[in-house]
Subunit: 136 residues, 6 copies
């Protein structure tokens, strides 16, 4: 039977939701106040879940300190205290919705974590809105 381990971290970032192929009225209609041109922001709470077998010599699925270092280097340094639309190459042509941020984080972490471990991202945009990727 498999076991999962989860590490939670927080990052603070600004963003706005916008589709450049639409006119202003459509953007406003679809994204509402999230389309505000001067940006707004969130304390994003990120859970990184890694699933696999427990290594009998350590009792770990994966050392959470190692996982924590990977998340700090690959995600926290890149996302924390940044403007997702302006500062991150990944969102130059991708709308920074919570769903897309979760996919981007997954794609950044996936190559850094052993292939025989599964990876799942849970991302809270606010205490009342969150996303899960990939969902089983």
């Amino acid at each position: 039977m498999k076991t999962s381990v989860v590490k939670k971290i927080t990052f603070c970032a600004a963003h706005r939701l916008h589709n450049p192929e639409w006119d202003e009225a459509t953007n406003q209609k679809v994204f509402g106040k999230c389309n505000h041109p001067n940006y707004h922001g969130h304390n994003y709470e990120l859970h990184v879940k890694v699933t696999g077998e427990i290594d009998p010599s350590t009792g770990f699925v994966m050392d959470l300190n190692v996982l924590s270092d990977i998340i700090k280097k690959e995600i926290h340094q890149k996302f924390d205290h940044k403007n997702l639309n302006l500062d991150l190459e990944e969102f130059k042509n991708l709308n920074p919705t919570a769903e897309n941020i979760a996919v981007v984080i997954y794609n950044l972490l996936r190559p850094k974590i052993s292939e025989h471990l599964e990876l799942q991202i849970i991302l809270y945009e606010t205490p009342r809105n969150y996303v899960i990727y990939p969902e089983k």
Copy 2:
């Protein structure tokens, strides 16, 4: 790969647990203080999870503002500041346990959400008791 989005809301309601086909002693034995005839109540915390593909034009699985409006209209108006046993048709012949409340909420929301999206209800009755329906 699928993605889930989750919206959380709170509603406050009174209820009691009771099976009218049983005598008082059996009700008391099975349901204990939850059987108290004058009712008691909870701040129910409801998570509504919707699972599907990310729409590339919006970056959304489903617009959480639309989901929020559906939950307000179909669930919050019906359940909040109500007595579940006395005020809701759905519990006239159904014991309002957390499990049954979750099933009723699922059945109320299912027809309002696109068929190609999956739906799951997570319902906290207290910070220490919660239910999930349907479980995979």
Copy 3:
């Protein structure tokens, strides 16, 4: 310098807000959905704060297990899984607002706690509404 110790417990109860000296329209206008005649309910989260000097032989202001037993006996047994309006003598002629519940709890606990210790009640009615009595 003084030190405070705080014990938190939860109780679940039904209530309604109502002033019997007012007509229905006034009650509805002032108390809104909290006036619903069939009651609604909450998970009340109660913090009991006791302030005094640290006893050098124990390192305690007051033994929290003793405080916990007093709260269970005087408050939890009386309030948990009850209808505050119908079941508690204290609210026969007193509207069970969060403010008044805090005052009632204070008055029930005050005689059970040593006179040279100060007492303060913090009561969450919902995660977004709370009261403090007495405020300094």
Copy 4:
């Protein structure tokens, strides 16, 4: 003895910390990553505390629905999904630190709340940083 009632709300905003009278190096040294020119953001959690006597006819210090409406109109509409530096007149010449945001919110709410009630602002910038104004 006085009683306090507290209402909590959340708003999401972008900001940056910056003193225009300092050169870039000093701003960077003092404010670190909070000085990032493209802004970052937070889910601010605001507690508004009002202190006074309980009105015996209502059992309220102040009707929390009335307080909630005042907060929505005076604070939430102005701060939520905004860039504090660019969108709010109040921060044109004032650095939007959590301390200064709390003072601004106090000054906006003070004239809207009865003079015989005391007012205090508690503002969480992140789950690990918060401010209180005025402190007693």
Copy 5:
């Protein structure tokens, strides 16, 4: 469709991570400060999830008071205010990582819960680290 019910409890325990087959330097390198010889400790938050069909006569998957009594007897009495390494037979030859604690709890509870119900353990070691066993 299946439904899950979850009960949360907390226990407080001391532990250290250590592999007796390794020398001190390797233990220190792999387990870091968790290897501290005098032990450290945590408030473990345990979620016990039970999955099955809702019994139409009770509206319960499983009576949470019964589940709660089983958890108190089999887990809380054994783990709370204990040193996992020194006091529990189960960890005499097993490193008390969060993963292994979850497996031990699963194995203790599994025989006490009806065979036609599924069981899953979610265990928070800190608010920022948690494990799930078995993961689907």
Copy 6:
């Protein structure tokens, strides 16, 4: 009017409550399971509150990054992943109750923080027990 800023951190430690001047039966009677000889442990959540005037050039009462560095150096390095009874000189002759831990933390931090700022310690031993020192 004064303003407070608060920084929260967590540390994990083992301890036991014990008065060496008492016999075993008295220790057991007063401290119950907290007297367990092999220790138990907690995730302590520490709030450090600093109160003073807002500096108009920074908008800060005190730079929370500076405060955070002081707490890491003076408290976190000393307390985290330690056994309070065995590893800390301060508890060689002092019972490590939450009250006494708060006083020790206050005394360690007080000389490191500007004299014209007030200091207060709030320490959660569990999510349901906490202490405040000094209380006003």
